[in-house]
Symmetry: C2
Subunit: 281 residues, 2 copies
């Protein structure tokens, strides 16, 4: 393929660009970003070949990838679709899908768009956080494939195959339910844990000195930026609230077991949680 535009040259867009170029999927990568510092850095790092304006980039691209926060995708996607022809394909990589596909379901160029979500990320951001083999072995979800043109769908499938991801197909609503469980709640847990420790442990140097690898791994996601996560929680509010209520009630069981000194119940709760060992490697 000839030209790919990456709208948003951060962690995800940057990591995709690196691999797509490296594997010869695309000859040229154009970067589009309001953040001129990120854009310059992406060029310095060899993530993009050129920087152009949105309109200039769309005019010459075969594939346009939106890799920006989900609120920005929601605003920008209709405008991008306004500008594309039947020979161009548009995709995004956001962590919410139902709200977005609803927004553009009546768009005349809906078929040029493929809704998808590569399930990878880190707590870091910006082009300097981009990684060459970020996505290998992880899941990529394509939503509502029947609403996309066949050639657009094939191209996006090829993108994820090039990224060495495991493809799954799912309804956008089901996607948002599953990601609330598997991804979104982990972030809330981690943010709340960080706030708990920051509230209780007034001596910050103690946190630094004592932090074990267990604490660091549980609290890692709490470093993730609000620009990305507030819009995700907002767009997936109902599902996130549903799972958050369940999580609070699960924590209350631990609280009750301790308060009542019911250590058999505490053990049961832990034995049940241990089942995750059989599910995750």
């Amino acid at each position: 393929m000839n030209i790919t535009s990456i709208i948003g040259t951060g962690l995800i867009g940057g990591s995709m660009a690196l691999k797509l170029k490296e594997k010869g999927f695309t000859e040229r990568v154009i970067g589009v970003d309001n953040n001129l510092e990120n854009l310059a850095q992406a060029k310095d790092l060899g993530i993009i070949d050129d920087a152009l304006s949105l309109e200039e980039a769309i005019a010459i691209s075969d594939l346009i990838i939106l890799a920006i926060p989900v609120d920005a995708v929601k605003k920008l996607l209709p405008k991008v679709l306004d500008l594309v022809t039947d020979f161009q394909t548009v995709m995004d990589v956001g962590s919410t899908k139902a709200n977005l596909v609803h927004t553009i379901e009546q768009h005349k160029n809906r078929k040029r768009y493929v809704a998808s979500h590569p399930m990878w990320g880190t707590e870091n951001s910006g082009p300097s956080a981009a990684q060459h083999n970020a996505f290998t072995g992880k899941a990529a979800i394509i939503c509502n494939p029947e609403d996309s043109a066949k050639d657009a769908l094939e191209l996006v499938k090829k993108v994820y195959e090039t990224l060495e991801m495991n493809l799954l197909f799912m309804d956008a609503d089901a996607h948002d339910v599953h990601t609330a469980y598997i991804s979104h709640i982990s972030h809330i847990t981690s943010y709340a844990l960080a706030n708990t420790v920051l509230e209780k442990e007034r001596e910050e140097d103690k946190i630094f000195q004592l932090a074990s690898s267990g604490f660091s791994s549980t609290v890692r996601l709490a470093k993730s930026h609000p620009e990305m996560w507030v819009p995700i929680f907002r767009q997936n509010k109902e599902n996130v609230l549903d799972v958050l209520n369940e999580h609070i009630s699960q924590l209350r069981k631990f609280k009750s077991a301790l308060e009542k000194e019911n250590y058999e119940f505490l053990e049961e709760l832990i034995v049940n949680a241990n089942r995750i060992r059989g599910i995750l490697k």
Copy 2:
């Protein structure tokens, strides 16, 4: 030093033995374990030189390290202290300290014991999980050093220096408060998160397929065994409950922000949690 006995040849005892032997801190390592399978495996893996009974091992050892669950330490430590002379040193590596030092404060050989806690662990257990450089760069806490004989204290300090750990000194009560914040609550969070996902996500294959690195890292500790963790929560009940109550109230803030669609408040909560980035590398 001549002979070190490791009571409990699992993850922690095994990892300590490997390093202490490798760095020439001790000439010979004796393993003591009720679990004969672990004992045989520890010998096969070169973690211990010989397996002996508790009494035989204590009779010939310069240093005795208890690396067993904290309830077992509480039972066994007085018996071990009964058997030692003024030329021997006893230490444990458990994650709770206040309850334990209280148990043996009147023991005639109290001074031969040094209370300490190396802040490292993984979700795995048994000698096969032992690692050569497990402790390097992590914190080791010595509690109530004034209650130990000077030579015993010096020996235990040398153990942690050999393990390449950063030494901290703390009152046993303060230790239990800090570990509740930094370590124990992370485990409860992780267990409760696993239970949440297992409750809500009935399709276990979906968890397996979709699990992102974020989810895996947040839920990793949920694989930890109840034999180790129930006694820790039990012995540190008051502190753990205190921090668990705070954690539930922090999660309620996220719930309230979402329910009221107060996204500025949601952003504030996340920005506050992001402070952890400046504290943890």
